[in-house]
Symmetry: C2
Subunit: 457 residues, 2 copies
Amino acid sequence: MSTDLMPNRFRPGEVDLPKREAELIARRDAVLGSSYRLQYRKPVHFVRGEGMWLYDPDDRAYLDFYNNVPSLGHCHQEVNAAMAEQAGRISANTRYLEPRLVDYAERLVATFPKEINRVVFTCTGSESNDLALRIARLASGNEGVIVSAYAYHGTSAAVAAVSPNLGDAVKLSSNVRVVCLPGPEGVPETQAADFFEAQVKAAILDLKRRGIGVAALLVDSIFSSDGVWIDPPGFIAKGVAAVREAGGLLIADEVQPGFGRTGAHMWGFERHGVVPDLVTLGKPMGNGFPIGAVVGRRAPMDRFGATARYSNTFAGNTVGIATADAVLTILQRDRIPQNALAMGERLRAGVDALAQRHQAIRAVRHAGLFFGIDMGLDTAPPEERRALALDVVNTMRDDGVLISTTGANEDTLKVRPPLVCQAEHVDLFLATFERTLDRVAVNSRSPTSRNAARTRR
Amino acid sequence: MSTDLMPNRFRPGEVDLPKREAELIARRDAVLGSSYRLQYRKPVHFVRGEGMWLYDPDDRAYLDFYNNVPSLGHCHQEVNAAMAEQAGRISANTRYLEPRLVDYAERLVATFPKEINRVVFTCTGSESNDLALRIARLASGNEGVIVSAYAYHGTSAAVAAVSPNLGDAVKLSSNVRVVCLPGPEGVPETQAADFFEAQVKAAILDLKRRGIGVAALLVDSIFSSDGVWIDPPGFIAKGVAAVREAGGLLIADEVQPGFGRTGAHMWGFERHGVVPDLVTLGKPMGNGFPIGAVVGRRAPMDRFGATARYSNTFAGNTVGIATADAVLTILQRDRIPQNALAMGERLRAGVDALAQRHQAIRAVRHAGLFFGIDMGLDTAPPEERRALALDVVNTMRDDGVLISTTGANEDTLKVRPPLVCQAEHVDLFLATFERTLDRVAVNSRSPTSRNAARTRR
């Protein structure tokens, strides 16, 4: 595992900066808490956004292939108009009757399997996961939580304590157990489900031996922070069954895969053929407006609501609801998930073709418009692979295309453009990626084809 | 303590509802989690807001003397214009350089004592308190937290666990200790500081005997959920000193008193002559837009930032920043805290005059535009006093004025209008309050003056 919690970040003194950015960073450092990190070796500075593009103060355009919050593109006029119109009318809270809240809640749950028919609104994905853990713990009567080895589920104290991705600086809860994923362990796809089930069962047993029951298996169904380990579809199902048999719930963290990101489905868990007990939503729900939700089955929701009061001042306010409603309308009307599927296939074909010519691409995984592209030879030391990934990301940044890294070793390129991306953007990304590989990985060209093994994992 | 966690709420079957509201409630109950509560015996239904007013579907106006989020009034055009303008330009995140974030952070910390000069943004007051606890625990190396007897600090798991106000349904952390406040215990003002210090020292000793150090004293400086126990100014200072001597921090929860609510000061802690280590912000910061912050001294912020990464996707996004910036501009330009001070004095004089004629008013406490008005005779049983307060609140609701209840026995009227309220609104509130007292408390008239004892506590 990388000991640097965020390798793709600015480190003072590493690069020379223009006076304008150096001065802004100095002012920033003097007033913001030092827990903030700037992305990229040379931080980006944006003052305008539009669709797939972000612009710096000199009006230089950067193609955004990284931000999964503005799924419909930056500064979407129709979404913003809905937000502004509602802000001019009323921003009621959930203790008052207001029809738009109910209308949207009905529309939202209609996108889920019928068992999932209750919703509680929050303001962020972290709040969603925090609340889901509270519900699961109360409903199960248990405290234990099982997560993947490099999971990240958010920033609140309770959620950070089940996020091994945050590293040693953030203490894990004594009630959390981590399980390995089949992909990073090199387990063949045919054995993936059994491997995951065995991992989960071992975690359950270990919890029980310490007198801790299982409250939940909490998973991001595309395992983005683990390095986008999505295949084979269904590999989590047996592990889910084991958790339920032990009295625990399945919480699907859809903050990253949800709202059509995976293309073929509105929700990432659908790829795995399971129906969660609780589903947590966030990032793209309001295309940037702070809104999230916990959606779930009636039984755990009722068990929680019977005794606990949950009142979130801003959550479910009518402005956020109107904004999220506009996002959902556009997602469905403009068939955005279908676009994500088609553009994902185009991007996959392009990356696979590049992988034929560049040994630097070790493996490719994707669902819809969420890609993990492993960099560096299998035989290379982890530090070298990570350095290569960082070089690629920062060379592309300098060339006007935004991506970053993920995974236990942070040697996986994390590529997740807004879902409105078109063929011209995919092609521009691919051209820039190829130019970068030519420049960064000059020694990794290989005439031999490795793609069969490569794209398998 | 009231066993009903939210007495002023809708209970199905208690009152007859019009068909329109009954149908909306049925749809709502079928899709929202049952942890939601509707306010008032007969829920309110609003579809439009403007300044001090909320309007139902029949365009009947209700005077808002309760909502402390839209401090500048509902649907403030200038604030909304700033939000919409920024949403059309860019909504950058904090990993990118963007000058407005820094500009606003500088303006915000300039409103604090000079020792408090660092800020981290969040989306809600709950996130602010959750993060402040994480910082205090890491910076102090301790886990214990001291709060007031009926404190409420938010909804995340970690914060709910230090919120005794949530009642038995939400388990308190084994690391939290509650302290009594001098006011509700009937302690004379001259002894209040010593009493509070003794309470805090006993809590510290109890924590230490169990091997738990003190991370923080976490207080809302107007103790709103305890029943608005604000006096005498400075009564918390000796307790704060004891916490610091034990290695703990002072976290001032300014979600309710902050941004000028107390009139004489921008921040509630200033009334008490203390400078906190960390200050948490929320509710009125964006006049309804979900934004909050932790503001604090450099040392604990640096200690946290040195090892922990805190990345909150939506927090500090440029749209929230532009909105909060407009709010701060208007607060300062239009001298809103000064208005809160003046209107608070006018309201206090009116309530005191009513208290001369109505035994139903037991005591009045206020700072700026945050009022606690205790209902019912000292000699009346708690249930009777609570029922009286509920009758007043719901009679006023039917008469078109919104307030609610607070305090351990929920017999205190909680009155906190938007800070832009004018003399005409104060006078309308007072006229409605008087009419309500005449109607509800017909048996509580008294020709004798009790106001000296009454207004003391």
